[in-house]
């Protein structure tokens, strides 16, 4: 009966093609790697930073209202208090990939990551291109190198 509607008899085979799906840019490796390198480049002395600090900035960058809340605070300490750090697994994965590519290295002892020459070159290009990461750069130039590990730990423990 169905054959009158759908001519199955005349069809040899039916194939399904899987169409690629659209992904938010935020889960593309190079976007997150770029952010990580930029944080190391602009906000850390000697290009070295604990992963917690990377996560802290990632939380900031993740949503506009975070940045607004952060930048509105006059004192840096207050600003840090206003952010609830989210430990984002994508950041960890991006860090692993960046290590794999030789942009950064992990300092096994104290859980720090450190910018390598190749990563510094890429970070510099990103920093120089005015069209990339405008918001992120705004935040990073607001904090300068003022977010030290000690400060971050102290304030977070208090909170």
């Amino acid at each position: 009966m169905n054959e009158s509607i759908l001519p199955y008899g005349q069809i040899d085979k039916i194939s399904f093609t899987r169409r690629p799906t659209s992904l938010p840019a935020d889960i593309r490796p190079f976007r997150r790697i770029g952010q990580i390198l930029l944080v190391l480049y602009m906000s850390s002395s000697k290009g070295k930073s604990p992963i917690l600090k990377i996560q802290f900035f990632n939380t900031l960058f993740a949503a506009n209202q975070n940045v607004e809340r952060f930048c509105e605070a006059y004192e840096l300490d207050d600003a840090i208090r206003k952010i609830q750090i989210r430990l984002d697994p994508f950041v960890n994965r991006a860090i692993s990939l960046a290590i794999g590519k030789g942009y950064i290295k992990s300092n096994g002892k104290d859980g720090h990551i450190e910018l390598l020459e190749k990563g510094r070159k890429l970070a510099q290009k990103i920093a120089e291109d005015e069209e990339i990461f405008e918001l992120e750069k705004q935040v990073l130039s607001f904090t300068k190198k003022g977010i030290s590990t000690a400060k971050l730990n102290r304030i977070l423990k208090k909170a």
């Binding site: 659209s22 840019a25 069209e131």
Partner: protein
């Protein structure tokens, strides 16, 4: 043709005292330059570069040396000078340069390097008449202001510096510092690549390309200016258009109608606008003509009714009842339309938010693509198709491999988002148009309701009145409708003049728009094409003569966009050897001089090569370069420094006649 700039004499004067002593001693170096080739020959560390750098400094171009101010110059001009093993502390040093231009006007430029009594930003210019003028360098106004030295220099060279765009969107003149790297090849950075010493602090877009455009006097420069000018006019036209269009809508809305067919963006005259004016009657949209026609008939009937004065209270009561029913149903339909309008607004908001999100994602994707490109430039690493550690396949995503998704490439993702955006825009425009129609409908219902309520009140009063008195409800209705009809007629005549305005505007807009399109589509003018072809063949033949090895010179092309030498579409520097890089820079700068002179371009007619024989480059190659220089005869000036051994220099300059400036000792020596 005579050179736009020629150097005759350079003099460096240094006053210094021996450490521990007070009396100052004068040191001096003086150079006389001829037309054609000049070779300054001395051993290393004797101060050849000091000579070249002094020329650069006195012209206010020290940015080419990488540093602003005196730090760009050797220590012996501002710190300590050493002669025969005795160190002296510098008290004062002054550089003076005699130059002339194409009109054979000779001037002397004097600038101090260090002088307790004079600012080193001051440049003094002494004319042949002995008259002295003071200018300054390295102030924001050095080019724009008439007191700026570079403004003076540009006029002296007979340069009309174009205004160019900065990254911040502003306009600045193409600073001479951006042009001179094509003429002066400095020793430290100059030989690493073409135009290596262009400063970036001016934030000019594509300064290297702009400089070559200027030197060759390419049309594309002036075309670009015209294009930007037109773009600005078109942008302004868009703003003007919304004013006109708002005016047109206001006229029609004032008379209670709806204007259709007037787009938000300016239209070309050839696109023939179909403007339609519509009116609501009983919540239905009808054409203007139909509305006027019906109004006229009904007004006539009203008049007749008033004149005949046949009042029947029974009939009046029935009419009143009907009217009251109609009033209720009209109120309901007003509520309904308002609800629909609110919903439409809500979805409009939703769509706008969606467009915003898409825009943000497009931007983020584009940024990511750029970062990927930069990464690729650094170490050829492309997107994450394989894991950098274990080499297993990856899908350029941060999602764990267990997530079974096949993501699009970033490029496809951008295309996809753009398509999404386009359909969202269509949806938004439709929703916007709908909600505007609903506003008109709401207005028209509200007007109708007002009239109906008035009529109900009037009729109720009439039922208690003497039947011989003319009925107020009818008279009021007649008055209102007649005046509305008059208003519409007046409005329509206003609208006619707006239509003429729109027509004129569209014609003007079309002219500008077509010219803009024309320029935007013109990749390259015939003139420019001819010049670039000449440049390319000159470059090829020079490279062949200079024994360029990296690729066959015949495969080298001049990019029609950046004018850089390319092979297979790739910049040549990336894979040229150090000695080939020198050959390439010499060949390119000489070709540029050649073609600029042939086509009356803006080249100053001079090249300075500091330490031509820097790398292990064959003497025969250098000989080729000198021979090429010689082919210009007295038509160009070349200043070259060399520290080659005397016999070697002879080999390199075989068959070449030149002015040799020889130093066996330090260039800057005490004056007896």
């Amino acid at each position: 043709m005579s050179n736009k700039l020629k150097i005759h004499r350079l003099k460096i004067e240094v006053f210094a005292h021996q450490i521990g002593q007070t009396n100052s001693q004068k040191f001096e170096a003086s150079f006389q330059f001829e037309d054609g080739i000049n070779i300054i020959h001395a051993n290393n560390t004797m101060g050849k570069s000091t000579c070249i750098n002094s020329i650069i400094y006195v012209l206010g171009l020290e940015m080419l040396l990488g540093k602003k101010g005196i730090q760009g110059l050797t220590n012996s001009l501002w710190g300590k000078i050493e002669f025969n093993g005795v160190e002296h502390e510098v008290d004062k040093s002054v550089i003076s340069l005699e130059i002339s231009n194409s009109k054979n006007v000779k001037i002397k430029i004097i600038r101090s390097v260090t002088d307790p009594n004079e600012d080193s930003r001051l440049v003094r210019v002494i004319k042949e008449s002995g008259e002295e003028e003071k200018y300054f360098v390295h102030d924001p106004g050095a080019v724009q202001s008439t007191k700026g030295f570079h403004h003076f220099l540009a006029e002296f060279i007979d340069w009309n510096l174009p205004a160019v765009t900065t990254f911040e969107g502003g306009k600045v003149p193409l600073y001479p510092e951006c042009i001179f790297p094509l003429f002066f090849i400095e020793q430290k950075k100059g030989w690493s690549k073409l135009q290596a010493t262009i400063p970036t602090i001016y934030k000019i877009k594509n300064p290297a390309t702009q400089a070559i455009q200027f030197v060759l006097k390419l049309d594309v420069g002036s075309l670009n200016l015209e294009k930007e000018e037109l773009k600005a006019q078109l942008d302004k036209a868009s703003a003007d258009w919304s004013a006109i269009s708002n005016g047109a809508h206001a006229i029609i809305e004032k008379m209670g109608g709806v204007l259709q067919g007037l787009p938000e963006k300016p239209v070309l005259a050839s696109e023939k606008l179909q403007l339609e004016v519509k009116f609501f009657r009983n919540e239905k949209m009808i054409d203007l003509e139909e509305w006027v026609h019906t109004e006229n008939i009904e007004i006539a009937a009203l008049k007749e009714g008033i004149e005949s004065n046949t009042y029947n209270s029974n009939a009046a009561e029935k009419t009143l009842n009907d009217l009251e029913d109609a009033l209720v149903s009209k109120e309901t339909s007003l509520e309904r339309t308002k609800t629909e309008f609110a919903l439409e607004r809500q979805s409009l908001e939703f769509i706008e938010k969606r467009i915003e999100t898409i825009d943000e994602d497009i931007k983020k994707n584009q940024e990511t693509l750029k970062i990927q490109k930069y990464a690729n430039e650094i170490d050829n690493s492309a997107a994450f198709e394989t894991c950098p550690s274990c080499g297993q396949g990856m899908k350029n995503t941060l999602l764990p491999p267990s997530v079974d998704e096949e993501p699009m490439s970033i490029e496809d993702n951008i295309t996809y988002l753009k398509e999404q955006r386009a359909s969202a825009i269509i949806l938004r425009d439709q929703t916007l148009a709908n909600s505007e129609l609903q506003i008109s409908l709401i207005n028209s219902i509200e007007t109708e309701l007002k009239g109906m309520r008035q009529k109900v009140r009037d009729m109720k009063m009439e039922l208690r009145q003497d039947i011989r008195i003319p009925k107020i409800s009818q008279i009021r209705e007649l008055a209102i409708r007649e005046s509305r009809l008059q208003e519409v007629e007046r409005g329509l005549s206003d609208f006619e003049s707006v239509k003429v305005q729109i027509q004129n505007f569209s014609e003007d807009y079309e002219k500008k728009y077509l010219r803009y399109k024309d320029i935007a589509n013109t990749l390259i003018s015939e003139n420019d094409k001819a010049k670039l072809t000449l440049l390319q063949s000159a470059l090829r033949s020079n490279l062949r003569d200079f024994e360029f090895k990296t690729v066959n010179p015949l495969e080298i092309e001049v990019s029609p966009y950046t004018y850089e030498p390319t092979a297979d579409g790739i910049q040549l520097y990336t894979n040229a050897s150090a000695s080939d890089s020198i050959r390439l820079i010499a060949a390119y700068t000489l070709s540029l001089l050649d073609i600029s002179q042939q086509t009356a371009g803006n080249h100053i007619g001079m090249l300075i090569f500091d330490e031509l024989k820097q790398q292990d480059i064959d003497s025969s190659s250098i000989n080729g370069i000198y021979k090429k220089m010689q082919s210009f005869g007295k038509g160009a000036q070349f200043i070259v420094t060399s520290s080659a051994a005397p016999s070697h220099l002879e080999e390199m300059t075989q068959g070449v006649s030149y002015n040799r400036i020889e130093f066996s000792n330090k260039l800057i020596a005490p004056v007896q």
